[in-house]
Structures are given as C-alpha cells and as structure tokens.
C-alpha cells in the first residue's frame, strides 16, 4: 500500500508538470491552430535563462523572474511575431514544420552556447521528506503538484471569470464574430502565447531540478506533452490536465508493476487506444472549440 501511495504521488507530481506543457499545447491550438512541436524545447529553455541569470550574479528568485521575462519576450512575443504570423497564412502543415525547425534550432543553440553536458539546477523547494502511511513523500513532489495545480486552476479561473479570459475564449471559438463584437482578437491571441510562455517557464523551473538542465530535455517532454494533450482532449484545458496526470501515473505504475524496459511504450499504447476508442480524447469535445 505504501508503495502504491509512493508511486501515485511521484506519478502525479511528474504528471502535473507534463500537464503544464500539455495545457500550453492546447492553448496555442485553440488560439491560433498552432501545433507547437517545439513545446518540449519551450520547457527546456527557461531553465537555461535561470542559469544565465544566476551566472550574472542574480539570486535564484530574481533569476527566475529574469527567465520569465526573457521567456515572455522570446517564447511568447518573438515566437508569435517571427514564426507563427508569417507561417500561418500558408496553412497548418508549414507551421508545424516551422515549429519542428524551431525546436531543433533551440536545442542546438543551447548546446552550442551553454554546452552539451547536463547542468545542476537549484531546487525551489526544501529537500525535506515527509513520511505518510509508510510512504516517503518529498517536499519537492508535493510542491511541484501544488504549484502546477495552482497554475492550471488560476488559468481556468482567469479564462472563465474575467472579461479578458472570456474575450480570449470568444476569439478562439469564433474570431470573426468576436472581432465584430469589438474584441481585439490579435491581442487576445498574443495573451495566449504569453500564457504558454509563462506555463513553460513554470514547468521548466519545476522539472529541471529532477531532469537536470540539459539541451536535450525537450525531446522527452515535448512528446509526453503532445501525447497528454491528445489523450486528454486537444480542445480542453482540463483534458490536457487529466492527460498529463494520467501519463505521469501510468508511466510510474508500468515501470514498477509491468516492465521497466517497456515503460516508455505505455503512454504510446494509451495514445493508440484513445485514438481508436475516443478520438476526441478523454475530456475533449467532438466539435466546437473552447479555450
């Protein structure tokens, strides 16, 4: 029983970080039909911004702020202006290819400028371990879970309870009508990109103490986030959340109870099953889009 609790908590903690990346996926899809295959690298990069900030002499928290600022500018504004806007009129496929190229560029640039070796990354939570029903639960796991849930919960509240959030939803559902009703659709889309950049920064800061900061981290994260978004439902934030958590838990359960060698195949098997049985995803809807 203690073992199961341990696995569930570890799985949920990892899954909640996957969910942050997956939510970003769905947001960009909703707002601008962008399937961002550089999403893994979007999560990889902010950790290096933090390290650069700390290298410049900033303490950890200001360095995280510095990273957030750079991420908003580069992964939010510059990504939208320099990649998405010029490519989008040519259709979804060229944009997908552009994001794949962007991911490669980001990965190789980090390798070139920061090095190929993994870098230690400071943990934002104390290295404490709590014992609960025979299981040892770390402050880091609990912290990661809470921060991720707060970020996603806050986003849901923002989208549903604020005027700007509802304008963003309207822009996603029907940009033409939203524009007629006076919504500044371009600005709403920009907000979506900024939110995605912020979520990626949070995910990066949470996961890098575990993964270590390395240029290749995006390879795993991007794939997992993509699978999580599809499993949960590509058109629903709560779907991406459920998808992320589910993959985190299934990955850990299968590593312990099925086979460590085949653990990475389990999320893909789940993906195939979902596509066959429920193509819209666990919580996705068949038609219409809502942020």
């Amino acid at each position: 029983m203690a073992e199961l609790i341990q696995i569930l908590i570890s799985g949920l903690a990892a899954g909640s970080i996957y969910a942050l990346a997956a939510v970003g996926f769905t947001l960009l899809w909703q707002a601008s039909q962008t399937i961002n295959f550089a999403q893994g690298e979007f999560v990889m990069l902010p950790a290096f911004f933090v390290l650069v900030g700390m290298g410049l002499g900033l303490p950890m928290w200001p360095a995280i702020g510095f990273s957030l600022l750079l991420s908003l500018l580069i992964l939010g504004v510059a990504f939208k202006k320099l990649v998405v806007e010029p490519m989008l009129p040519h259709g979804t496929l060229p944009l997908v290819i552009a994001t794949i190229a962007l991911g490669l560029l980001m990965k190789e640039s980090v390798k070139e400028f920061y090095g190929a070796t993994a870098q230690p990354f400071p943990a934002i939570f104390p290295q404490k371990v709590y014992h609960f029903a025979g299981a040892s639960v770390s402050a880091q796991d609990i912290g990661n879970l809470i921060v991720s849930m707060l970020a996603i919960g806050g986003l849901q509240l923002f989208l549903n309870r604020t005027r700007t959030g509802r304008c963003m939803q309207a822009s996603a559902q029907n940009p033409a009508v939203a524009e007629i009703l006076g919504v500044d659709v371009k600005r709403m889309v920009m907000y979506t990109f900024l939110i995605n950049a912020a979520l990626a920064t949070i995910a990066s800061v949470l996961i890098s103490p575990i993964y270590l900061a390395k240029f290749s981290n995006g390879e795993t994260l991007g794939l997992v986030a993509f699978i999580a978004a599809i499993v949960g439902g590509f058109n629903q934030i709560r779907g991406a959340l459920v998808g992320g958590l589910l993959i985190g838990v299934i990955d850990n359960l299968s590593a312990v109870y099925v086979s460590a060698e085949y653990r990475s195949a389990m999320p893909l098997i789940l993906l195939i099953a979902i596509i066959l049985l429920r193509p819209q995803g666990l919580l996705g809807t068949k038609e219409g889009r809502a942020v």
Binding site: S10, A116, T117, A118, Q119, S138, L212, S216, A260
Partner: protein
C-alpha cells in the same frame, strides 16, 4: 589602358614583388610535418558529460606536449569528431579520422560506440585508446584497442571484495543501465556476487538517458538489502541519487566511478553524499602529479575534471611516450609496443600513476575505494592492481 603602356622596368618590378610575396607565403607553412591524432568522443547526446571531459583531457595533454616540443620533434595536430553518442555515427567518424590520415585514435568513451567503431580502427591497423569500460572490448582479440581505465571486469572484483570484506554485505540490489556499458558491469558484478556469496535481492535495469527514476527508487525501497550496486552513466547516476535522496533511501549505494565521479557530485549536489565506490582515477587521490594536473585543468577549462578527463590526459602522454620509445610515429609499431608494456611515472610522468597493459590491451593499475563526503571523494582504501 594603363597596363598596356607599362615599361619593362615596371613589369620587372612587379615580377620581383610577386616572387617576394610567394616566397613569404611559402615561408609561413610549418617546416615540420604534423602528427595527426583523431579525437572521437561523445560531444552531444547522453554521453556528452563523459565525452567532453575526455576530449578536454586529450586536448590539454597534447597542448602541453606541443609546448614542450611535440612528439619526436613533431607537433601534434588533433582533429576532433563528435560521435553524438551514436554507435553508427562513431563508426563513421572513426572511418573519417582514418581517411584524414591519423596515426592513432583517442576515444570513444561510451562502450556501445566503442564495440562498434573499434572494428574500423582494427581493419586499418590504427591504435585506439578508449575510455570505455565494458569487458567485451578487450575480450574480442583486437590488437589495436587499449584501455585508459580498467574494464569493469577488473574494477568490479576489487569493489565486490571490499563490499564483502570491509562492509560485510550479504544481500545486494543491483541497479544498472540497460546498455553495452551497463550490461558489462552487471555481468561482472553477478559473477563476483556468486564468488562472494551475495544474494541478489533485486535486479533493476534502467534505460539510457532515463530522466525519471522515481519508480526504480520505489522498487529499491521495497526490498531488504545491505547495499545496492548502482551501475549507471554519470547523468543518470546524478538523477538516481537525487531521487534516492528525495525518497529517503538509507541503503548504502555502491558503484563504480560513474556513481561517484566529480560530474556526478556536481550534478547531484548533497544527494551524492554517502555514495561510495571504486574509482580507477580520482582527482582527490592525493597523488601530487594528479593534483597538479587537476589544478591546471581547472584553471584552463573552468571546471573540475572527472576520471574521463584524466583518462584522456594520460592517453595523450601514453601515445607520446610509446612513440618516442619506438622512435617513430608509426601506428603498427606503437600498437606492437603497447602489448605487455609497463609505463612508470619515472619514465613517463604524464601517465600520473604506474600502469601496465596486457596482451589484450587491458590495463592494470592501483585504484581507490572512496566515499563522497561533503561533496568530495574521500579515499577510504587504496586497492592494489589485479
């Protein structure tokens, strides 16, 4: 039009100028032929930590050698190739180095690459100084492969003996990387476990470049053992140690250099404290020559070298000393001389410790059992050569 009305004097002056310029250009070409060495290492992919250290060690070694007059009076030119931690790429890079006319090859570090690319060097008759530790590498009858560190079949028996005699271990869990490197260590350990009567209570394979070790640590926590033998590569070791600390594992974690190397300590931070194991080379060995090498390396590259850097550094000096012993930079002569050779620090200071190679290219040397305390390797015992 002006060119057409040049006088003979003007033409002669131009010819003289051009001749002088050509002579100057020729004078800029080095008078000595260069001795080419191919440095083929993992500069990207999962092996980048190990490969970068090895590469920098080789680089520093040959830079020192060049500054002191080169090998047999010739400067050494290193060409570096990135294997990308991919066996097939490493094979292609070894072939490329051979096509480029190298006399010898240093690298690769990852065993899964070395077992593939060493066949290319063998066919071309080029001596190869590898940083790999899988037993199979020197067990294939390749007369051109030479280690720069023990194979795990040499290191693991020393460590298992220490575990049995000094730590009183009876039950052991084994955590290992499911790669050529990991399989070698795993097999060596199982053999030693049988010899020392250890009971293997858990056998946990993990994947190359694995990032999440929570499930593996959960399994480890669920078993009753006196110690766990952990045989993963550096970055995975650091992630494993962090997760073990996170989940409050109190079991002694024992491994090879890849569990307690300096890169692992840097990456794992406090989580590395308490981990212990056998190292063939350690910057903390209190050997003056090694301490001096480490200081120079740190000043040059701005990071603390690990055992892979020392491997690369000693490979450079081994090549220099052996080439000078045979009196020529000839690949075949160097390979022939290496078999059954003992290099002492007195005759070749750059090897840092007395070292011998047998007929298979396997090496033998004193080594250390260390424990990580306060982020440093503390030598607990010096283990004799075997």
């Amino acid at each position: 039009m002006q060119n057409r009305i040049r006088t003979r004097e003007e033409r002669n002056a131009m010819i003289r100028t051009l001749t002088a310029a050509a002579a100057l250009a020729l004078a800029a070409v080095p008078a000595l032929a260069e001795l080419k060495i191919g440095s083929i290492v993992e500069l990207s992919g999962p092996g980048a930590a190990a490969g970068t250290n090895f590469r920098d060690g080789v680089r520093m070694g040959f830079e020192e050698i060049n500054a002191a007059g080169g090998v047999l009076g010739e400067p050494v030119a290193i060409t570096e190739y990135d294997s990308q931690t991919d066996p097939q790429v490493s094979r292609a890079m070894v072939q490329k180095a051979i096509d480029d006319g190298v006399v010898a090859i240093t690298g690769t570090v990852f065993s899964s690459s070395t077992v593939v690319n060493m066949l290319v060097a063998k066919q071309a008759g080029i001596p190869q100084f590898t940083g790999s530790e899988a037993p199979s590498i020197t067990g294939m009858g390749n007369p051109y492969i030479f280690r720069t560190a023990f194979g795990s079949q040499k290191g693991v028996p020393k460590m298992a003996k220490y575990m049995a005699e000094e730590m009183g271990v009876k039950k052991v869990a084994v955590v290992w990387a499911n790669t050529e490197f990991g399989k070698g260590g795993h097999e060596s350990f199982l053999k030693e476990a049988e010899a020392h009567g250890f009971e293997i209570v858990a056998d946990l394979p993990t994947e190359q470049a694995q990032t999440d070790f929570s499930a593996d640590v959960v399994k480890l926590k669920g078993i009753q053992a006196d110690a766990a033998f952990v045989y993963l590569t550096e970055e995975e070791s650091a992630r494993f140690l962090r997760e073990a600390r996170k989940q409050g594992v109190t079991l002694p974690l024992v491994g090879e250099t890849t569990l307690i190397g300096h890169k692992v300590i840097e990456l794992a931070g406090d989580a590395a404290n308490g981990a212990m194991g056998h190292v063939g080379l350690t910057p903390d060995a209190n050997i003056p020559a090694m301490t001096e090498m480490v200081e120079k390396f740190r000043a040059k590259f701005n990071y603390t070298p690990d055992h892979n850097a020392i491997k690369g550094y000693t490979a450079a000096y081994t090549l220099k000393c052996v080439a000078e012993m045979v009196g020529e930079a000839d690949s075949q002569a160097i390979a022939d001389k290496m078999h059954g050779l003992t290099l002492t620090v007195a005759e070749c200071p750059g090897v840092l410790m007395d070292v011998s190679w047998d007929e298979t290219g396997e090496m033998s040397r004193e080594s250390f059992f260390v424990e990580v305390q306060d982020g440093k390797q503390v030598v607990k015992a010096i283990l004799p050569p075997n």
